[in-house]
């Protein structure tokens, strides 16, 4: 038997937002004549689905169908400032700015609707693209009709401005005291590995992840982040380096021929569960989930290798060569004593 299995666990926390804050994001919203809402942003979608989750947050706040919300981002001539998509900040910051803008736009919508319906604005609600009187769902007007009236009858705007900023804090140079986050998300990973003691190869068989990320805006995309991050973490733990003999610069990688990233064939079975404990300051209780998903698999895999073969390989990546050398050292130490 040369293949030995082991299991390891690892727990992590992860901060939402730029360290120390100081990273604002703005949003503008306006209503078109036919009742669609355009959200103007300069925030970047890196492929993680920001445009979709921001559409969901805007639709939720406005009380209109998702299809009626247009997310327009990516042009500094026509949209206000966003600090950028990084630091697990986008859904939290952009989401808060969009809620603020949507609430202002909704107030304007309800004021127009109140005039049209001869009701008080505070007695009106917007649901599924319709404005109706609280408690009297039959006294209603579509958002389309309100928008038309605002444009062509009253000459009023239905728009909103939003911004979110956690003001920049300082660091006490003597003690390190600081406020480094808006909130913290948490996760625990369990890795099951198989180590081939003849070749030093490590195969990840299964990865389990339990994530606590505040409220999920889009559970499928949260799962996408977790699975993608788990595979990225696996690459970090076992395969990737641009300097295989770091700190020496020899064999600096230049292509996928030498720089090995995990592909679908390497991906283990991944099972996830998500817990939702809303944060106090995120949009609808959101916490950031983007960056943290690569973190817990790395130590979980290293711990699982120890569980399997009794060696600590704490110099990443854990290549077959490092595993074999560690096993040789262990054998030598045992036979020497």
């Amino acid at each position: 038997m040369t293949r030995v299995r082991g299991r390891g666990i690892a727990s992590v926390n992860y901060p939402t937002g730029m360290n120390l804050g100081g990273d604002p994001t703005q949003a503008l919203i306006f209503c078109q004549p036919t009742g669609s809402f355009t959200v103007k942003l300069s925030s970047t979608d890196l492929g993680q689905g920001l445009k979709t989750v921001i559409g969901q947050i805007a639709a939720e706040t406005l009380g209109v169908p998702l299809e009626g919300v247009i997310i327009d981002t990516g042009d500094t001539d026509s949209a206000p400032h966003c600090m950028g998509t990084f630091a697990s900040r986008a859904t939290h910051r952009v989401g808060n700015a969009v809620i603020m803008a949507a609430e202002e736009a909704k107030r304007a919508l309800l004021e127009v609707a109140a005039d049209e319906m001869e009701a008080a604005p505070q007695d009106l609600v917007v649901e599924n693209g319709e404005v109706h009187v609280k408690g009297s769902p039959d006294r209603k007007l579509s958002v389309l009709d309100v928008a038309l009236a605002a444009h062509f009858k009253y000459g009023r705007t239905i728009s909103g401005r939003g911004i979110f900023l956690k003001p920049k804090g300082g660091v006490d140079p003597e003690t390190g005291a600081c406020d480094p986050d808006s909130t913290e998300a948490h996760a625990t990973a369990v890795a099951e590995v198989e180590v081939d003691t003849e070749t030093g190869e490590v195969t990840v068989l299964r990865l389990f992840g339990a994530y606590e990320v505040g409220r999920q805006v889009n559970p499928a995309m949260v799962e996408g982040q977790i699975v993608g991050g788990a595979v990225m973490g696996m690459g970090h733990a076992l395969m990737e380096t641009v300097f295989p003999y770091y700190p020496a610069q020899d064999h600096h990688t230049s292509s996928f021929g030498e720089y090995i990233v995990p592909t679908a064939m390497d991906a283990p079975q991944i099972e996830t569960v998500v817990l939702e404990y809303p944060s106090s300051n995120g949009p609808y209780g959101v916490k950031g989930v983007g960056e943290m998903t690569a973190n817990s698999p790395v130590p979980a895999i290293v711990n699982a290798i120890y569980d399997a073969v009794g060696v600590w390989v704490t110099d990443l990546p854990v290549t077959p060569e490092k595993v074999l050398r560690a096993l040789e050292d262990k054998d030598r130490a045992l036979s020497g004593s």
Partner: protein, 456 residues
Amino acid sequence: MKQLGIVGQSVKRRDGLGHVTGQTQYVDDVFYPGMLWLRMVRSPVARGAIRRIDTARAEALPGVVAIVSAGDVPNNWYTILGLIGVGPPDEPVLAHEEVMYQGEPICAVVAETEDIANEATSLVKLDIEELEPVLDVEYALNAEAPVIKKWGSNTFIYDGMNHRRLRFGDVDAALKQADFVVDGTYRLSPIEHVPLETHCCVVKPEPDGRLTVHTNTQALYFSMDNTAIILQCPSNQLRFLGGTVGGGFGGKVDVITEPVTCIAALKTRRPVKWRWTRREEFQNSSTRAGVKMEYRDGVMRDGRIIARKVRSLQDAGAYHRHSPYGAQKHMANVGGPYSIPNVWADVYCVYTNRQPSSAMRGFGVMEASFAIEVQMEKIARTIGMDSWELRMINAYRNGQMRPVRKVVEDAALVETLQAAAELAGHELPAHLRAMHSNDTGEQTGNHAYGGGGSRL
């Protein structure tokens, strides 16, 4: 938790179909009539003094339209951290006196085709006096190592100190009091972000004198404002277009393509494209920092961690980029998700003659989490305690004080441990299943060593 409407629903992503059918427009899909191509001449050595850059043969190659050198850059400093108040600037946009890493940009060739631009880069003759490079972070801190930064040190200076420090409680006293002391040294070598879409920028000079800049930056205004500072022009002369990026992971916030491409477009009055090859992505784009971390934890027989002492060296490579920020973030997270009453850390942002490291998914925190969690396993094995229980005993609870002196508000580590155990088919004993993040710690006793003010 209140049930909402569309928030909480797994609706289909809006751009998914475009991505998987190849219809999404990325920056490299942008073409303009008369567009020129830019390629970069880079340093062949890790450290050296530039004696002469001879571009005559490159300029003579048919199809070459312009060379962009340091003298063409109005303000030849990268200012990315300057924009958030961190300095001094240390990285030239184009090197002219010295080179600090292999692959550092020296001058750009702009030509009618990408092939001509590539050929022309090989015709630029560089006369560089090679100097001893500093490659190892421990060596960089050694008094005998060459000093590679102009301020006279191989580290970033935080508030007059060569490291960022954390001091919480009395670590040395607690380590003496501990039943066990567990040590570990942890290393990560630099890795690449490996986005599917490599860096790319297209700049078009408009008839009104403005520049339209197509870029795959993760931060449009940040990149635009930095570019304006480098161009010494009002930012209203620039229009940045983007918002759809084929993978970033932190690798596309370095403002590394836009300034030079803008200068090339201004110089030639024609549209210019600069797209990076995969080789450049591996060898020249910034990486995750290599890190060396030394952790020492003091633990009681019952599993409570009462002290942690950390020395951490972050390999920034040749220039700041975002590494001083990453080291600060590292400092803020060495306690991890645990309540440890005495914590001491010295975190160094160290410069070496290596391609700069910068932001990458979770940088600063990811590295700390790696060290902390392997330490946890070592501790469990050392004291003979179940590693689930060790984590649950020490997990921070709401209301406790973290080492950075911020009160824990959104704790949920205990709950993720319980959920992970269930998911993985590991049965926890009843006393661990009964724990939660709002318990006061009575059943865990993790407040008992409150020397550092771990209890409010």
